[in-house]
Amino acid sequence: DRQWLKLSDMQTALADQAQAVRELRGLAGSGALSAQTANPPSSQVAQAFQRAYAATKLADYARGDWSVEAFGTNLKTITPLISTDAYAANVQSYVQESLITRNPDTLAWEGLVAKNWTVSEDGLTISFDLRDDVSFSDGQPLTAEDVAFTFTFIMTDAIQAPRDRAYLEKIQSVKADGKDRVTFVFKEPYFEALSLAGGMNIMPKHFYEPYLKEPQKFNESKGLLLGSGPYRLADPKNWTPDQGSVELLRNERYWGDVQPAYNRILWKIIQNDSARLTTYRNGDIDSYSARPVEYRQLQNDAQIQGKSQSFEYMPPVVGYSYIGWNQIRGGKPTRFADKRVRQAMTYLTDTGRIIKDVFLGYAEPAVSPFGNASKQHAAALQPYQANLDKAKALLKEAGYEDRNKDGVLEDQAGQAFEFKLTYFQANEDTSRMVLLLKDLYAKAGVKLVPFPQEWPVMLENLDKKDFDAITLGWTSSIETDLYQAFHSSQAISKGDNFIGYQNPELDKLIDEARRTVDEAKRMPLWQQAERILYEDQPYTFLMRRKSLLFVDKRIHNLQMTKLGLNLGSLPLENYVPLAQQKYTQ
Amino acid sequence: MAPQRRRVVSSPLLQVKHLRTYLQTGGEPVKAVEDVSFDIPQGETFCLVGESGSGKSISALSVIRLLPDGIASHPSGEIIFDGRDLLALPDADIRQVRGAQIAMIFQEPMTSLNPVLSVGEQIIEALHLHFPNMSAEEAEQRAVVALTQVQIPNPGARFRDYPHQLSGGQRQRVMIAMALACQPKLLIADEPTTALDVTVQAEILRLMRQLQDDTGMSMLFITHDFGVVAQMAHWVGVMQFGRLVEAGRCREVLSRPRHPYTQKLLASVPENLAKPDASAPPTTVRAEPVDAPAFEGSHRACGESSVVKLSRLLSGVEANGASSAQPAVFAKTSSGNTPSQVAVQSQALIQIRNLKVWFPVRKGLLRRVVDHIKAVDDVSLDIPRGEIVALVGESGCGKTTLGRAVLQLEPPTAGSIKIAGRELVGLSAKELRPMRRQMQIAFQDPQSSLNPRLLVETTLTEPMQVHGIGANRDERIELAEQLLDDMQLGREALWRYPHEFSGGQRQRIGLARALALNPEFIVCDEITSALDVSVQAEILQLLLEIRRRRNLTLLFITHNIGVVEYLSDRTVVMYQGKIVEQGSTAEVCGAPEHEYTRRLLGAVPRLVV
């Protein structure tokens, strides 16, 4: 589930990783009622609510007040399925729930709406038993029918949900067996089958079913959002973007074992960065995620320090950025089709320097698509160390020399080694990095021409494979699938392997790993694949960036988990003590 | 035509004593008024005359204290009005005097009224100001009465009109009504009729005299026209360079001017101008490239020669039929000519036949032409070679349009124009270009008739170059220098810009430009109207001299009958786009046939001494 599309919608707040975490939860499900725990502690609190329950036992715990956050761009719609941005997903995560959720401490799956589940021997069938006390915010009970309906609804062609359909199309059928049991049948073994089935946000049948007859109305809607989550829209049908904010009310009918602390969740839309920071300073929003330069400066800002708790952390799902070297252009191999050239470029790309100078150390070098903490990653692999001499040697070996003594290398044909690096224009850190790369490459006689582009133009060029090199980022998940970006099959025209990278050996490994449901057998396969990528360097992997976050001191019980900071994670663990509460409504 | 009635003089209403007015505008102060003293008795008119810039307006404005505070100062002087020194009054008091006791009207009737207020409002405003207790209805009545007084037709309705809906004469009447509404004791009129037609002027002047008789007010009347002075003044003061060089009873000053400046001014009046020396050598001595008939030169030289007498006789015949269709008249005229006269007619340089210049009036959605302004309507006219033909008529009758149409600056709607037998109408711009050499035009306004960005040299030589006169630049400069000699300007004038010349000088340059191409025919559109009399006299004399030397043909557009009489051989009278009378000048002016001509001539203020 790589959604690099989301990067575009989050242009002004690319570093806003806290949101990415929440979004992930939104997709993967949130909170769970433990069916596995035989004897819950004194009360009847389910496993998924244990952390939230613990919070309520804290001395200064109080319910009330609002959570106020800011979005950096205007939302176009918050209707599920048709919304495409992370912000909308964030809103939806408070309103709709899924069958299962990941435990922030163990990263294991726990039941939320589902009590427990069983996976068949062949891994093709998964059955969930649902809790019988779950109801939607309008009072209607949530049943297996709703889960089955959700699948049917998404798979309806008229509904504009191609993205979700693309994930779910591995599922053959979803059947409700009575009120409390639902069975997913897969077409083929798939390593992410459980998260696919259990992570689906459950849409109330009674609410959405009418739109099957009027799909156009659904597709054009702005705020059709109803679910079983702890919060709800005041009017589940009529939210509009022109309100300039999104506001969720407490779901008074919430079925969960622990009621959330906040009365309301409010997101203001503040596009301008300095306005957002000022608003945070003024105490009108509760958190501010900073760019590295800002973060460093704000560390010395007494006013900010006085009111904030600051966090720098590396969420496990953080995406990585890279430079992709286009290997085929106009049907002909480019100079980057030569592995030596790509390796040389990686040697020239001093990631240490980039991290130090541009990201001020708030990032770690990326070796491959797999994070350093991921089980997919082979610990033995170390990032390429910058090495000018090695790079020069490799380039020389590949036939590049400064033949006319103008400082730029030429190939045998006398063609200068000059290329355009395409990047998305609106991100300052990227621009800074590109300028740094330009200077780094110049040392080896390679001329980089910065080529900033607008998003649609860039996409068009990607689509036509009309670029020399491009720097972008992919979002990651707990376990990352290489298929989409590196499999040869995706190099054909419109796929996401837009650099035209083909390696049959890698293809085989990817196919194999995707079929292997058993984690213990799957991981070595990923590690083998990683080694190939490391050797081939189809991308020069750059780095993973830390989340840099200031949170208002009135928000309590902020903890670091394996999923990152628990700010806003569901079921809600944060609260504002009575003394610091601001909003009374 | 002196004022009809005199009053017994008691003490003067206004006494100006040793008035000095200096204007501070940056550098040196301008000594606009220097030690001026005069009295205006009750009920009488004091006329200030003098050339442009002599300080007349500033004197008047000093009296009513309308000069801007910042720039005007009075180093000395007293203005005693009704026993009070106006110069010493505080602002609040002078405002009580202004409008109520001293009223003023200005030269420009077009701009002196507020365009966005109705005339009634503007009159009532003054009333309200000086009679705060007057009720609204009463004020309105008074305003209507005032409008009736100045003989505005249908004053009740006109009351609500805006200034732009009135003609120039009517506007000036409104100004007078406004000034008189509060029954002031003194009316200051700063050239109130200069911008108006003679006929309108005559009516306004008559009206003012009548009002003076009725109300017994005094007047300070400013003008530069001695004809007007003769009609209006009891007393005259002549100003030069800010000083009052001569003052006295009107009759005495006009008949026995003592100061040389006054004498010079009076001598410059066209009526008094000496006709060019009749015994001057015949122009035929100057070799002209054109095929000028030898007799042309002698025509003027023998003064009231038999030919002229004959032509006058004949034009009398013409005039009889003038009111009938023009072409017929022409047919008659030519058929009745003696052989020699026929020769002249057939030699006519310019032949205009049934010329129409109509301006379309467009209306509606598609801007369709719904009507026409018939600026020139079916005019036929011959201009004989070597003659000066004066074109007179009231403002807007189509004189300028006719002149411009002859030169093809205005495309004619119908008709034919021939110059030296060649048809002009219907030629393309390209075909016309070489013809333009033969005909030129000079304009009224010395300000706008020369391109301010070009050296006089460029202005003169550029057309020469285009038409291939002079082999090279030096030659053309040489030619231009000769032209300036002819115009009695120094040769170094070539290297100056237009703004460095006075109005009269500029007018000469304008003429030089017209002459630069050595044309046969020039249209002079009111070239002296904007000039002072003395300058006008010089230009007129120059014109005659050049005509003599170059055998020029002129169409001289003017509405100054004095100039017509002095200058022209023939006179054509236009009225509402048509020619109503034409003939030799002496005859048209001496024995006008047409009703309109008579009215026109009757309206001209004459300096009868």
Binding site: S274, L277, T278, A290, V293, Q297, D301, D406, V408, A416, A426, E428, S431, R432, L436, K438, D439, L440, A442, K443, K447, P450, F451, P452, E454, V457 | T25, V30, E51, S52, G53, S54, G70, Q240, F241, L409, L432, R433, R436, R437, I441, F443, S449, N451, R453, L454, E462, P463, V466, H467, R496, H499, E500, S502, G503, G504, R513, A516, D532, V535
Partner: protein, 396 residues
């Protein structure tokens, strides 16, 4: 003559008078002085702020690295400046001077293109490397940092306040990428000057031709012309800019052309009204009566007389173009890498931690320049229309 009380005989031409009156004020002198300083900065930028020595001696061998690294543009601007200086001394008429200058600079551009060949890649770090340090002596420019020198070897982290960097002095601090702000400011004066003049020049040229034709011919030409003017008035410049940038990539020249191409409608309207008035002037009629060709009538007799009020609009237009550049940068469409005030101001505006030096210096420079142009325009307007001036009482 009695009628001309003040002898008006002065040798000054109309334009000289206007010029003299324009200059007659404190504000305009300040404005011109500022623009003059900018011109000097623009011309001598490579010698004022650069990373390489102006002159150095190594092993007894004297060399001028600055000259070797002079770009074609640098060389061309230098030569053009000196040609302009020389031409202004020549005893020629205004038009002739301009022609000589134009042809001179054109030749210079050609020669520069053929002869000047700076290295294709400049590694600024090297100038602080042994090759340039182990020398007998060297003379550095007053600001020893090139605008594109991001001080990589000095480990500049960017956005350091003036004098705050350890080990190297930056009078105006460093910008986001670590380059010296003052150096960029100096080099950016080129953009500030050229974007104003070239963009406005293009707009003016189109505006004059279209407006002139409309005003002179009126009728159907006028009708069609007005529609064209309206169309261009109503198409948002921003829209065209965004699209064209996507078309052709970002380039300063592109920006100038687009600001120019979309900005002419105002001038056209102006010229049209002016020409409609002028057409009735007697001297124009006289020119027609003299049979002068159309181009002479349009461009010799009408244009110079209608252009004075236009020039006022131009000086304000130049100011406006500079602001446009800043706005473009705000939209993220500014030039990459090349120094520009707008882009630097944008860095200040965009960064949420307000870096005062990034706002004060570029913002101040933009303000001063726009202000200077506005002052000049204002003085010019006063000179043309004495009634409005503060100094003259106005002849009532």
């Amino acid at each position: 003559m009695a009628s001309s009380p003040k002898p008006l005989i002065s040798r000054q031409s109309f334009s000289a008078r206007i010029w003299r009156r324009t200059l007659d004020g404190v504000g305009v002198k300040f404005g011109l002085a500022w623009v003059g300083v900018l011109v000097l900065f623009a011309v001598f930028a490579p010698f004022l702020a650069n990373s390489m020595p102006l002159l150095m001696s190594k092993n007894g061998e004297i060399s001028a690295p600055v000259l070797r690294y002079l770009s074609i543009e640098d060389a061309w601007i230098l030569v053009a400046f000196f040609i302009a200086l020389a031409v202004s001394r020549l005893p020629l008429a205004g038009g002739a001077k301009f022609l000589v200058f134009l042809s001179g600079t054109a030749v210079a551009a050609l020669v520069a293109n053929l002869t000047v060949q700076p290295p294709a890649l400049v590694i600024y770090d090297d100038f602080r490397g042994p090759e340039y340090v182990q020398v007998d002596w060297k003379i550095m420019p007053p600001i020893p940092y090139a605008p594109g020198d991001y001080l990589r070897d000095l480990g500049s982290k960017g956005l350091e306040a003036p004098f705050a960097s350890a080990g190297h002095t930056h009078w105006m601090g460093t910008e986001e990428n670590g380059a010296d702000v003052l150096s960029r400011m100096i080099h950016a004066s080129r953009i500030a000057l050229s974007i104003g003049f070239i963009a406005t020049g293009i707009a003016l040229a189109i505006g004059i031709v279209v407006g002139g034709l409309m005003g002179y011919f009126s009728g159907i030409v006028d009708m069609l012309g007005m529609r064209l003017v309206e169309i261009f008035e109503d198409i948002p410049t921003l829209f065209l800019l965004l699209t064209f940038v996507a078309f052709f990539g970002r380039s300063l020249y592109m920006m100038m052309v687009i600001i120019g191409v979309t900005g002419w409608s105002g001038y056209a309207r102006y010229v049209r009204t002016e020409f409609l008035k002028l057409r009735k002037q007697d001297y124009v009629q006289a020119a027609i009566a003299s049979g002068l060709p159309l181009h002479s009538i349009l461009f010799r007799h009408m244009l110079p007389n209608g252009v004075a009020p236009l020039l006022v609009a131009v000086s304000f237009g130049v100011a406006g173009a500079i602001l446009s550049e800043a706005t473009l940068s705000f939209l993220g469409l500014g030039v990459v890498d090349a120094p520009s005030w707008g882009a630097m101001l944008d860095q200040a505006v965009k960064s949420s931690t307000f870096n005062w030096w990034m706002a004060v210096f570029p913002g101040g420079a933009i303000f001063m320049t726009v202000f200077a142009y506005n002052l000049i325009g204002e003085a010019f307007r006063d000179a043309i229309d004495p009634k409005l001036s503060r100094r003259n009482g106005g002849e009532s």
